[in-house]
Protein backbone atom coordinates (compact mmCIF):
# COMPACT_ATOMS: atom_id res chain seq x y z
CA UNK A 1 0.00 0.00 0.00
CA UNK A 2 3.00 2.31 -0.09
CA UNK A 3 5.35 1.49 -2.93
CA UNK A 4 4.22 -0.28 -6.07
CA UNK A 5 1.97 2.59 -7.14
CA UNK A 6 4.22 3.80 -9.88
CA UNK A 7 1.12 5.12 -11.59
CA UNK A 8 -0.78 6.39 -8.60
CA UNK A 9 -0.63 10.12 -9.02
CA UNK A 10 0.28 11.43 -12.41
CA UNK A 11 3.42 9.45 -12.71
CA UNK A 12 4.56 9.60 -16.29
CA UNK A 13 5.13 6.10 -17.54
CA UNK A 14 5.90 5.26 -21.13
CA UNK A 15 3.87 6.52 -24.01
CA UNK A 16 2.23 3.12 -24.23
CA UNK A 17 1.22 3.41 -20.63
CA UNK A 18 -0.21 6.87 -21.07
CA UNK A 19 -2.11 5.52 -24.01
CA UNK A 20 -3.48 2.60 -22.00
CA UNK A 21 -4.58 4.93 -19.27
CA UNK A 22 -6.35 7.11 -21.78
CA UNK A 23 -8.06 4.14 -23.42
CA UNK A 24 -9.27 2.96 -20.02
CA UNK A 25 -10.70 6.34 -19.09
CA UNK A 26 -12.27 6.70 -22.53
CA UNK A 27 -13.95 3.33 -22.17
CA UNK A 28 -15.11 4.29 -18.70
CA UNK A 29 -16.71 7.49 -19.92
CA UNK A 30 -18.30 5.76 -22.88
CA UNK A 31 -19.85 3.04 -20.76
CA UNK A 32 -20.95 5.47 -18.06
CA UNK A 33 -22.45 7.79 -20.64
CA UNK A 34 -24.47 4.95 -22.05
CA UNK A 35 -25.65 3.14 -18.95
CA UNK A 36 -24.59 5.01 -15.84
CA UNK A 37 -22.84 3.67 -12.77
CA UNK A 38 -24.07 0.10 -13.13
CA UNK A 39 -22.94 -0.14 -16.73
CA UNK A 40 -19.35 0.62 -15.79
CA UNK A 41 -18.44 -2.98 -15.15
CA UNK A 42 -14.80 -3.70 -14.71
CA UNK A 43 -14.80 -6.60 -17.19
CA UNK A 44 -16.56 -4.41 -19.74
CA UNK A 45 -14.15 -1.54 -19.24
CA UNK A 46 -11.19 -3.87 -19.63
CA UNK A 47 -12.60 -5.39 -22.79
CA UNK A 48 -13.52 -2.07 -24.38
CA UNK A 49 -10.14 -0.58 -23.48
CA UNK A 50 -8.45 -3.71 -24.83
CA UNK A 51 -6.55 -4.48 -21.66
CA UNK A 52 -6.66 -7.44 -19.31
CA UNK A 53 -8.68 -7.21 -16.12
CA UNK A 54 -5.52 -7.41 -14.02
CA UNK A 55 -4.02 -4.52 -15.97
CA UNK A 56 -7.08 -2.41 -15.36
CA UNK A 57 -6.65 -3.00 -11.64
CA UNK A 58 -2.98 -2.14 -11.91
CA UNK A 59 -3.90 1.27 -13.26
CA UNK A 60 -6.91 1.90 -11.04
CA UNK A 61 -7.19 -0.06 -7.80
CA UNK A 62 -10.99 0.00 -7.69
CA UNK A 63 -14.07 0.94 -9.64
CA UNK A 64 -14.44 4.03 -7.48
CA UNK A 65 -10.86 5.13 -8.14
CA UNK A 66 -11.52 4.62 -11.82
CA UNK A 67 -14.67 6.73 -11.87
CA UNK A 68 -13.28 9.48 -9.67
CA UNK A 69 -10.24 9.67 -11.94
CA UNK A 70 -12.58 9.98 -14.90
CA UNK A 71 -14.42 12.75 -13.08
CA UNK A 72 -11.14 14.49 -12.44
CA UNK A 73 -10.24 14.39 -16.12
CA UNK A 74 -13.65 15.75 -17.11
CA UNK A 75 -13.41 18.47 -14.52
CA UNK A 76 -10.00 19.50 -15.73
CA UNK A 77 -11.46 19.94 -19.18
CA UNK A 78 -14.31 21.99 -17.77
CA UNK A 79 -11.92 24.18 -15.85
CA UNK A 80 -9.85 24.83 -18.96
CA UNK A 81 -12.98 25.64 -20.92
CA UNK A 82 -14.06 28.11 -18.27
CA UNK A 83 -10.63 29.65 -18.29
CA UNK A 84 -10.65 30.00 -22.07
CA UNK A 85 -14.08 31.49 -22.26
CA UNK A 86 -14.76 33.26 -18.98
CA UNK A 87 -18.29 33.93 -17.91
CA UNK A 88 -19.62 37.43 -17.88
CA UNK A 89 -21.69 39.19 -15.28
CA UNK A 90 -21.42 42.43 -13.39
CA UNK A 91 -21.18 41.06 -9.87
CA UNK A 92 -19.30 38.16 -8.40
CA UNK A 93 -22.61 36.46 -7.66
CA UNK A 94 -23.73 36.75 -11.28
CA UNK A 95 -20.49 35.37 -12.59
CA UNK A 96 -20.46 32.44 -10.18
CA UNK A 97 -24.05 31.61 -11.01
CA UNK A 98 -23.30 31.72 -14.71
CA UNK A 99 -20.24 29.56 -14.35
CA UNK A 100 -22.05 26.96 -12.31
CA UNK A 101 -25.06 27.02 -14.58
CA UNK A 102 -22.89 26.48 -17.61
CA UNK A 103 -21.16 23.57 -15.92
CA UNK A 104 -24.41 22.12 -14.62
CA UNK A 105 -25.99 22.36 -18.03
CA UNK A 106 -23.08 20.45 -19.49
CA UNK A 107 -23.49 17.69 -16.97
CA UNK A 108 -27.24 17.53 -17.36
CA UNK A 109 -26.84 16.99 -21.08
CA UNK A 110 -25.37 13.58 -20.22
CA UNK A 111 -27.39 12.37 -17.26
CA UNK A 112 -26.06 8.84 -17.15
CA UNK A 113 -22.47 9.97 -17.14
CA UNK A 114 -23.22 12.51 -14.46
CA UNK A 115 -24.98 9.90 -12.37
CA UNK A 116 -22.03 7.55 -12.58
CA UNK A 117 -19.41 10.16 -11.74
CA UNK A 118 -21.40 11.85 -9.01
CA UNK A 119 -22.30 8.64 -7.24
CA UNK A 120 -18.73 7.42 -7.36
CA UNK A 121 -17.55 10.71 -5.91
CA UNK A 122 -20.05 10.53 -3.09
CA UNK A 123 -19.43 6.88 -2.35
CA UNK A 124 -15.66 7.20 -2.22
CA UNK A 125 -14.03 6.17 1.03
CA UNK A 126 -10.77 7.20 2.64
CA UNK A 127 -8.62 5.33 0.13
CA UNK A 128 -9.70 7.77 -2.57
CA UNK A 129 -9.06 10.86 -0.47
CA UNK A 130 -6.27 12.12 -2.70
CA UNK A 131 -8.31 12.07 -5.90
CA UNK A 132 -11.35 13.50 -4.12
CA UNK A 133 -9.26 16.31 -2.77
CA UNK A 134 -8.04 17.16 -6.26
CA UNK A 135 -11.60 17.43 -7.51
CA UNK A 136 -12.56 19.61 -4.56
CA UNK A 137 -9.67 21.95 -5.29
CA UNK A 138 -10.68 22.20 -8.93
CA UNK A 139 -14.21 23.05 -7.91
CA UNK A 140 -13.26 25.82 -5.51
CA UNK A 141 -10.75 27.10 -8.05
CA UNK A 142 -13.50 27.40 -10.61
CA UNK A 143 -15.70 29.29 -8.18
CA UNK A 144 -13.03 31.69 -6.98
CA UNK A 145 -11.99 32.37 -10.55
CA UNK A 146 -15.55 33.33 -11.36
CA UNK A 147 -15.59 35.54 -8.28
CA UNK A 148 -12.39 37.32 -9.34
CA UNK A 149 -11.94 36.94 -13.08
CA UNK A 150 -8.89 39.19 -13.40
CA UNK A 151 -5.49 37.83 -12.66
CA UNK A 152 -6.04 38.14 -8.95
CA UNK A 153 -3.60 38.79 -6.20
CA UNK A 154 -4.87 37.32 -2.92
CA UNK A 155 -7.79 35.24 -1.75
CA UNK A 156 -8.91 35.91 1.79
CA UNK A 157 -9.98 33.12 4.10
CA UNK A 158 -13.52 34.30 3.68
CA UNK A 159 -13.27 34.06 -0.09
CA UNK A 160 -12.21 30.45 0.20
CA UNK A 161 -14.93 29.69 2.74
CA UNK A 162 -17.54 31.19 0.48
CA UNK A 163 -16.31 29.18 -2.45
CA UNK A 164 -16.39 26.04 -0.34
CA UNK A 165 -19.94 26.65 0.76
CA UNK A 166 -21.00 27.17 -2.82
CA UNK A 167 -19.21 24.01 -3.84
CA UNK A 168 -20.95 22.07 -1.10
CA UNK A 169 -24.36 23.30 -2.14
CA UNK A 170 -23.60 22.56 -5.76
CA UNK A 171 -22.64 18.99 -4.93
CA UNK A 172 -25.72 18.43 -2.81
CA UNK A 173 -27.93 19.90 -5.49
CA UNK A 174 -26.29 17.67 -8.06
CA UNK A 175 -26.91 14.61 -5.91
CA UNK A 176 -30.53 15.64 -5.57
CA UNK A 177 -30.85 15.91 -9.31
CA UNK A 178 -29.03 12.66 -9.99
CA UNK A 179 -31.33 10.77 -7.65
CA UNK A 180 -34.40 12.28 -9.26
CA UNK A 181 -35.44 14.23 -6.20
CA UNK A 182 -35.17 17.64 -7.84
CA UNK A 183 -35.70 18.79 -11.41
CA UNK A 184 -33.09 20.58 -13.45
CA UNK A 185 -34.87 23.88 -12.91
CA UNK A 186 -35.02 23.40 -9.17
CA UNK A 187 -31.36 22.49 -9.13
CA UNK A 188 -30.41 25.72 -10.83
CA UNK A 189 -32.73 27.65 -8.56
CA UNK A 190 -31.23 26.14 -5.46
CA UNK A 191 -27.71 27.02 -6.51
CA UNK A 192 -28.69 30.56 -7.42
CA UNK A 193 -30.37 31.13 -4.07
CA UNK A 194 -27.34 29.85 -2.20
CA UNK A 195 -24.90 31.98 -4.16
CA UNK A 196 -26.97 35.11 -3.58
CA UNK A 197 -27.08 34.31 0.11
CA UNK A 198 -23.35 34.05 0.57
CA UNK A 199 -22.28 36.59 -2.02
CA UNK A 200 -24.16 39.77 -1.28
CA UNK A 201 -22.10 42.47 -2.89
Amino acid sequence: MSSANSLAVDDLGSAAQRDRRKRILDATIALASQGGFDAVQMRAVAEQADVALGTLYRYFPSKIHLLVSALQREFERTEVALRDKPVDGDTAADRVINALKRTTRGMQSDPQLTEALTRAFMFADASVAAEIHQVGMLLTAMVTRAMYPEGHEELTDEDVSIAQVIGDVWLSALVGWVTGRTSAAETGQRIEVAVRLVLRD
Copy 2:
Protein backbone atom coordinates in the same frame (compact mmCIF):
# COMPACT_ATOMS: atom_id res chain seq x y z
CA MET B 1 -42.22 -2.25 -8.09
CA SER B 2 -45.61 -0.68 -7.46
CA SER B 3 -47.83 -2.87 -5.32
CA ALA B 4 -46.39 -5.54 -3.01
CA ASN B 5 -44.71 -2.97 -0.77
CA SER B 6 -47.10 -3.41 2.08
CA LEU B 7 -44.26 -2.38 4.37
CA ALA B 8 -42.69 0.29 2.23
CA VAL B 9 -43.52 3.46 4.10
CA ASP B 10 -44.58 3.13 7.67
CA ASP B 11 -47.32 0.70 6.96
CA LEU B 12 -48.42 -0.81 10.21
CA GLY B 13 -48.30 -4.58 9.98
CA SER B 14 -48.82 -6.84 12.93
CA ALA B 15 -46.98 -6.51 16.21
CA ALA B 16 -44.76 -9.38 15.13
CA GLN B 17 -43.89 -7.50 11.98
CA ARG B 18 -43.12 -4.33 13.82
CA ASP B 19 -40.92 -6.37 16.08
CA ARG B 20 -39.09 -7.98 13.15
CA ARG B 21 -38.52 -4.61 11.59
CA LYS B 22 -37.09 -3.33 14.84
CA ARG B 23 -34.82 -6.36 15.25
CA ILE B 24 -33.53 -5.88 11.72
CA LEU B 25 -32.75 -2.21 12.25
CA ASP B 26 -31.17 -2.96 15.61
CA ALA B 27 -28.93 -5.56 14.03
CA THR B 28 -28.05 -3.13 11.26
CA ILE B 29 -27.02 -0.45 13.71
CA ALA B 30 -25.06 -2.89 15.82
CA LEU B 31 -23.10 -4.24 12.86
CA ALA B 32 -22.53 -0.80 11.38
CA SER B 33 -21.42 0.55 14.72
CA GLN B 34 -18.86 -2.21 15.01
CA GLY B 35 -17.47 -2.41 11.49
CA GLY B 36 -18.96 0.31 9.32
CA PHE B 37 -20.52 0.00 5.89
CA ASP B 38 -18.67 -3.15 4.88
CA ALA B 39 -19.63 -4.98 8.05
CA VAL B 40 -23.31 -4.55 7.34
CA GLN B 41 -23.60 -7.72 5.30
CA MET B 42 -27.09 -8.83 4.46
CA ARG B 43 -26.50 -12.40 5.61
CA ALA B 44 -25.06 -11.16 8.89
CA VAL B 45 -27.96 -8.76 9.46
CA ALA B 46 -30.45 -11.55 8.78
CA GLU B 47 -28.70 -13.92 11.13
CA GLN B 48 -28.33 -11.38 13.92
CA ALA B 49 -31.94 -10.29 13.57
CA ASP B 50 -33.00 -13.94 13.54
CA VAL B 51 -34.72 -13.64 10.22
CA ALA B 52 -34.29 -15.39 6.90
CA LEU B 53 -32.45 -13.60 4.13
CA GLY B 54 -35.58 -13.51 1.99
CA THR B 55 -37.50 -11.91 4.84
CA LEU B 56 -34.88 -9.25 5.23
CA TYR B 57 -35.31 -8.40 1.56
CA ARG B 58 -39.07 -8.35 1.98
CA TYR B 59 -38.71 -5.65 4.60
CA PHE B 60 -35.91 -3.71 2.94
CA PRO B 61 -35.40 -4.14 -0.79
CA SER B 62 -31.67 -3.39 -0.72
CA LYS B 63 -28.75 -2.77 1.58
CA ILE B 64 -29.00 0.93 0.82
CA HIS B 65 -32.69 1.03 1.71
CA LEU B 66 -31.85 -0.76 4.91
CA LEU B 67 -29.14 1.68 5.92
CA VAL B 68 -31.06 4.77 4.92
CA SER B 69 -34.01 3.52 6.95
CA ALA B 70 -31.68 3.04 9.89
CA LEU B 71 -30.43 6.58 9.38
CA GLN B 72 -33.98 7.82 9.33
CA ARG B 73 -34.74 6.12 12.64
CA GLU B 74 -31.60 7.56 14.24
CA PHE B 75 -32.41 10.99 12.90
CA GLU B 76 -35.91 10.84 14.29
CA ARG B 77 -34.45 10.12 17.69
CA THR B 78 -32.07 13.04 17.31
CA GLU B 79 -34.88 15.33 16.31
CA VAL B 80 -36.92 14.31 19.34
CA ALA B 81 -33.92 14.83 21.59
CA LEU B 82 -33.40 18.30 20.17
CA ARG B 83 -37.05 19.05 20.68
CA ASP B 84 -36.98 17.89 24.28
CA LYS B 85 -33.87 19.76 25.17
CA PRO B 86 -33.64 22.77 22.87
CA VAL B 87 -30.31 24.42 22.29
CA ASP B 88 -29.64 27.82 23.71
CA GLY B 89 -28.02 30.81 22.09
CA ASP B 90 -28.94 34.42 21.61
CA THR B 91 -29.07 34.54 17.85
CA ALA B 92 -30.45 32.16 15.27
CA ALA B 93 -26.89 31.53 14.06
CA ASP B 94 -25.73 30.57 17.55
CA ARG B 95 -28.61 28.22 18.07
CA VAL B 96 -28.19 26.53 14.71
CA ILE B 97 -24.48 26.12 15.30
CA ASN B 98 -25.11 24.63 18.70
CA ALA B 99 -27.74 22.26 17.40
CA LEU B 100 -25.54 21.04 14.57
CA LYS B 101 -22.53 20.74 16.81
CA ARG B 102 -24.46 18.67 19.28
CA THR B 103 -25.68 16.41 16.51
CA THR B 104 -22.28 16.19 14.89
CA ARG B 105 -20.65 15.36 18.19
CA GLY B 106 -23.10 12.55 18.65
CA MET B 107 -22.30 11.11 15.26
CA GLN B 108 -18.56 11.50 15.71
CA SER B 109 -18.75 9.47 18.90
CA ASP B 110 -19.59 6.47 16.74
CA PRO B 111 -17.48 6.90 13.63
CA GLN B 112 -18.15 3.52 12.10
CA LEU B 113 -21.89 3.92 12.37
CA THR B 114 -21.69 7.38 10.93
CA GLU B 115 -19.56 6.16 8.07
CA ALA B 116 -22.03 3.43 7.22
CA LEU B 117 -25.10 5.65 7.35
CA THR B 118 -23.54 8.61 5.59
CA ARG B 119 -22.12 6.58 2.74
CA ALA B 120 -25.42 4.79 2.22
CA PHE B 121 -27.21 8.12 2.13
CA MET B 122 -24.81 9.51 -0.43
CA PHE B 123 -24.78 6.40 -2.58
CA ALA B 124 -28.53 6.06 -2.74
CA ASP B 125 -30.06 6.14 -6.18
CA ALA B 126 -33.51 7.12 -7.40
CA SER B 127 -35.20 4.05 -5.92
CA VAL B 128 -34.49 5.37 -2.44
CA ALA B 129 -35.75 8.88 -3.19
CA ALA B 130 -38.65 8.62 -0.77
CA GLU B 131 -36.54 7.70 2.25
CA ILE B 132 -33.89 10.22 1.32
CA HIS B 133 -36.49 12.91 1.08
CA GLN B 134 -37.73 12.08 4.58
CA VAL B 135 -34.25 12.47 5.99
CA GLY B 136 -33.81 15.76 4.17
CA MET B 137 -37.03 17.06 5.63
CA LEU B 138 -35.98 16.04 9.12
CA LEU B 139 -32.69 17.85 8.67
CA THR B 140 -34.21 21.11 7.52
CA ALA B 141 -36.83 20.81 10.25
CA MET B 142 -34.08 20.56 12.83
CA VAL B 143 -32.36 23.62 11.44
CA THR B 144 -35.47 25.76 11.16
CA ARG B 145 -36.49 24.79 14.68
CA ALA B 146 -33.14 25.98 15.92
CA MET B 147 -33.61 29.19 13.99
CA TYR B 148 -37.05 29.79 15.52
CA PRO B 149 -37.28 27.89 18.80
CA GLU B 150 -40.69 29.19 19.83
CA GLY B 151 -43.80 27.62 18.47
CA HIS B 152 -43.46 29.49 15.21
CA GLU B 153 -46.11 30.67 12.86
CA GLU B 154 -44.70 30.83 9.33
CA LEU B 155 -41.47 30.03 7.57
CA THR B 156 -40.62 32.24 4.63
CA ASP B 157 -39.16 30.83 1.45
CA GLU B 158 -35.89 32.40 2.43
CA ASP B 159 -35.94 30.65 5.80
CA VAL B 160 -36.32 27.31 4.08
CA SER B 161 -33.61 28.13 1.55
CA ILE B 162 -31.24 29.08 4.31
CA ALA B 163 -31.96 25.88 6.17
CA GLN B 164 -31.37 23.91 3.00
CA VAL B 165 -28.04 25.53 2.35
CA ILE B 166 -26.98 24.79 5.90
CA GLY B 167 -28.11 21.21 5.53
CA ASP B 168 -26.13 20.85 2.31
CA VAL B 169 -22.98 22.17 3.89
CA TRP B 170 -23.46 19.96 6.89
CA LEU B 171 -23.78 16.88 4.69
CA SER B 172 -20.72 17.77 2.64
CA ALA B 173 -18.73 18.42 5.77
CA LEU B 174 -19.85 15.10 7.19
CA VAL B 175 -18.75 13.31 4.03
CA GLY B 176 -15.40 15.02 4.27
CA TRP B 177 -15.01 13.86 7.83
CA VAL B 178 -16.17 10.33 7.11
CA THR B 179 -13.66 9.95 4.29
CA GLY B 180 -10.87 11.24 6.47
CA ARG B 181 -10.31 14.39 4.48
CA THR B 182 -11.13 16.76 7.33
CA SER B 183 -10.71 16.50 11.07
CA ALA B 184 -13.53 16.84 13.56
CA ALA B 185 -12.38 20.34 14.42
CA GLU B 186 -12.28 21.41 10.80
CA THR B 187 -15.70 19.94 10.26
CA GLY B 188 -17.18 22.03 13.06
CA GLN B 189 -15.32 25.06 11.81
CA ARG B 190 -16.63 24.65 8.32
CA ILE B 191 -20.21 24.40 9.50
CA GLU B 192 -19.86 27.41 11.74
CA VAL B 193 -18.43 29.55 8.97
CA ALA B 194 -21.24 28.59 6.63
CA VAL B 195 -23.95 29.29 9.17
CA ARG B 196 -22.52 32.71 9.96
CA LEU B 197 -22.39 33.46 6.26
CA VAL B 198 -26.03 32.74 5.58
CA LEU B 199 -27.45 33.81 8.93
CA ARG B 200 -26.19 37.31 9.57
CA ASP B 201 -28.65 38.75 12.04
